[in-house]
Symmetry: D2
Subunit: 354 residues, 4 copies
């Protein structure tokens, strides 16, 4: 209820601050008998580490080592809750200086203070992007459940700093820098990132996520439509400011005759719906896009306030990333996997007959 | 769990099909002592009726009369669950002809069949837009709770069929046709709707929703961020295919220095964040946009299939709306009210101290 | 969250006050394709009516006519939410006299006032036993789901006013007065009820509930054990003050060697566990008992207070029941059915493999 | 949903098997600003260790050292989720012999196998009483929240092996062996335990739990009555087979005039209701009793079956406890604290007015 649990049947509950002892979580509701080990989860965690896909450099270079604490026996899930933890190895006490009292623009400092009356200011505490490490671990468990069902989720960066990739090779994206949608984009984005970094500024972009092998029938009517769940999942990632399903905002400018996906003998003639009709999967590929805002930590002076209401100037950047894209791509995939695992389990019992 | 309940503390559970005996719902979690009567809810219901804001004509012209069944005593909520019903007055048996077996493109016919193995095909059953009447009623109860707290939600159509309004007068929108954002838009949209109707085709558009008076501190960290809840709320409305918070997709093309909202003595210098930082309200106005797809029921031949897999051609339109905008605007406002009522109640217990 | 919803997947949400316009509810999560009609629900509702099993006379004699509002099409559930309502036909305005301000001992008057600051005092409002009519309707839907699975729930009164039945013929109980466990009990209880009624006093008793055909494997580990869910279900009925599973309190006085149920070739040698081991059904019969307190409305003077804190004397009885047993038996069966339907659906997705 | 989460607002999610790497959990929904440290939780954990209250000897003697992983900063809760872990220090590989394939009577071996198709047989896995260590830790966090509100929960053993204590000194119980209700009971129980241990057999008993300082108004109407929540909480503890609130089963044998608690100038004249009227706390002391079955692991031959259906004889005992009472008393207190913390937070938002 306080927001650290995701899902209704396949549920992930997470904990952990940027500079606390450890981050981790509990997956509850994963069926018994699924093949699962630490190595499979570690592979996903490694994708969101600095250097894995982005040019950006982060001073912090933790190994993010997963440790499974329960729920797996002899290489298979037992049906009981799966606890896991990732230790924060770099917790050395250091001077947080003005961050302690001054609100960084674009960050949650001011709103956490307003909400709780106090906050763990070290590295953003719970509002840090570091929180997403638990999502990726949970998403990897969801992936282990989905894989034998033939459901695959992939993501790629299709735009960065306003420069769009020209094509979408989503399978290849996993091995490209920035998880870029095509090779050409990599070079252009490298150049832009270098330039903007020199200016002390930061960049945003757009990520496309696709799910293949999703059977028709997932999603619940009315409030728990598959697209509603997916939108919440993606929007719950800090940097996301916009979501599209299928043709998205472009659909609002089409005529009905253009936007409707006709059904032919060979299947659907198009996929403007993004694989979802009336909130329920149609068997087509699920297509989503998320708009990622530029990282708010910039190496430039900004006007702001402190906890006591006084006007202040702050310069935050230095060792930070220039663009969240490389780190956020595996997180968005993880969130989509979590939704699909949940919806598969929900659907198991709603079909016809008893 | 099966998707007919919305919210975690201030909860709305709905029921009802397009051509069943009645639609309705239960609001659970509304605090005691809130002034509430049928007239206030009726006012909201009347807004989503045909003719109330759109030029579109619907053969069906039901009064949608709300009846409060419980939870209110001597004009005030008692804290117990609030049941309500709206009778379907026009249930006359008629011939559903090919609709019974043929899947209408862009509708949920095919996916409901895939999910449940059977469906109430009369007028779309539960997948009908008519379902939203219960949302509007529930949203009106939420509004009655929010109003004494000074929280106001308004919405306006800012684009229709690709033609954008030039300005946003959101207070005036309530009394304009199409709930249009400005006067000029009305004339241009009327003309377009007339033309497209003659072609047997339909239109989409974009709605902007704003919430004023929202205190800082609403929203929960990580998965239940205020924006995640709002995105799910809006995306759960059938016609919505895209969502933006604040600067939305435009944010993905800005630099950090442009997108960050500086804090000055006089408050925030801008509102690219749309009133939400790290998932928690900042005290600024909440700004949302939703992309509405064109209505899938068109008066043109379309290729499709029937329940038995055979290729078919179908022509659906006739008495249907040309654009969902006028009907969807009050629904989107209702959904935002439901989210805010829930988040206000969640926040009551999470603040500092015991 | 505010307590008017029961269940996690097969969910019942109810509304309605004793003297409001109507009572009713919404069943969400019932699978599609289940045979269901109003007559089957009506049969269950009729069991809890005055005169159906008890000698007690109630001035109020409403027909409690069920009306299905949604979720059923051509005699089968569609998988969407099932709304239903029961009109309160006898709402004539009358003088509630001192009840309005004076707290009746043993009733919720004082606690509702403390909780909400106001209350619908007419006939107890939401705290009235009349609320259970919606539980019986919801339980009947659960029964329609369980029946084709071969799961049967029956209940009988095994003790009334301290006089125990000598044997348990649970199938016959349905047709006996008081839903008595055997024929001898009926005569002795009639005599006692007559005597106590003449004294202006009231009686309690004990109900035994049994579920047959429950497959092994229902129930979730740790917090959602099958017995924990059943205990909550039974204890949520107003008059219940104690619960036993299997040998219950007697188990606390046995040795391990007596209480353990050995497994023989022919199955379990005994059923002290009541069909549940480590919170999960074993395939044996589920055995539960509930202690029912005497009805608090007595035709005798009682010391109490009014809303303003002043000492008062009140005499409540007159047209009230002498013992809740006959009305509570069908309610307890309904609650057990609701739990089992939920647990069957939960189990469908937690079993081994993918 | 799969049963490892307890509570609706103040939520505890747990994980961990008897012989896995670690046990632990996540508390979500604890308000910010509560004083909390590891020492306070450790004190509660130490109470459920062998030797802390019972004569029983357990070969396993782990320190159960709590480690807080998140959610606390500078000695106060931050409002974010509180992760914690307790390492299993004694995981040495050993021979589980026949336990691997043979179902121990009275244990969950058979039902876990039926439910999941596989199980972690080492020491009972998730069905082990060792699971309750996470409940005690979570309950200690709840206690830290309740304490400044003046709400205190205490428990005592009032009966063991059929021998009842003669008086109830619940404050003194904390320091007595068996958490006994009075001094005389200790000697008689010691004697009985010694005798029964020599016979290879085991014992059960009854625990009484009382909560003082609970304000009037906690509990939600209908399904989430305070007593329903408490019953579920207690019954979710493995060894519990019966529950009573207030006068419990005795109430079923009283007349209404005996059982009703009159209200005098000085307050209630009695407390048969156990502090709860119509599911809502009345401000009186909350009084609960739980029946604890004898430990199923006995050092005597028992008839049973193995996984393959063959008849077997098994002798389990040896290093096991004779009676669960000393270990279960702190667990029951923890469960009641968890319920009360949840209900306090729920009530904060349901009171009168906006």
């Amino acid at each position: 209820m306080a927001g650290n649990t995701f899902g209704s049947i396949f549920k992930l509950t997470t904990f952990g601050e940027s500079h606390g002892p450890a981050l981790g979580g509990v997956v509850d509701g994963c069926p018994a008998g699924i093949a699962l080990n630490e190595a499979a989860i570690q592979t996903e965690l490694d994708k969101r580490r600095p250097g894995q896909g982005g040019l950006a450099v982060t001073a912090r270079n933790e190994p993010d080592r997963i440790r499974l604490l329960s729920g797996v026996f002899e290489g298979r899930t037992t049906g009981t809750s799966i606890g896991f933890a990732i230790e924060n190895t770099d917790q050395r006490s250091r001077d947080y200086g003005e961050i302690k009292d001054v609100f960084r623009p674009g960050h949650g400092d001011m709103t956490y203070e307003a909400k709780y009356g106090l906050r763990d200011y070290r590295g953003g505490g719970r509002s840090s992007g570091r929180e997403t490490v638990s999502r990726v671990a949970g998403g990897a468990v969801a992936g282990a459940f989905l894989e034998p069902l033939g459901i695959t989720v992939r993501a790629a960066a299709v735009e960065l700093g306003g420069i769009a990739a020209e094509s979408l090779d989503i399978k290849g994206a996993e091995h490209r820098q920035f998880f870029a949608a095509d090779d050409n984009a990599v070079l252009r984005w490298q150049e832009l990132v270098k330039k903007v970094a020199a200016q002390g500024d930061t960049l945003g972009g757009i990520v496309e996520i696709r799910a293949q092998g999703v059977p028709a029938g997932l999603g619940e009517p009315v409030f728990d439509k598959l697209d509603a769940r997916l939108a919440a999942a993606l929007m719950s990632v800090g940097a996301v400011k916009g979501i599209e399903i299928g043709s998205g905002f472009a659909a609002s400018r089409m005529r009905g005759s253009e936007n409707n996906d006709a059904m032919l003998d060979t299947g659907f003639a198009s996929n403007n719906a993004g694989g979802i009709l009336a909130g329920i999967s149609s068997g087509q590929e699920i297509v989503l896009r998320a708009a990622i805002k530029p990282i708010p930590s910039i190496a430039l002076d900004q006007h702001t306030r402190d906890r006591f209401g006084a006007a202040r100037t702050i310069r935050v950047g230095g060792r930070h990333d220039i663009c969240a894209i490389p780190r956020v791509v595996p997180v968005l995939s993880a969130m989509v996997r979590l939704v699909l695992a949940d919806m598969v389990l929900l659907q198991r019992r709603m079909g016809g007959g008893t």
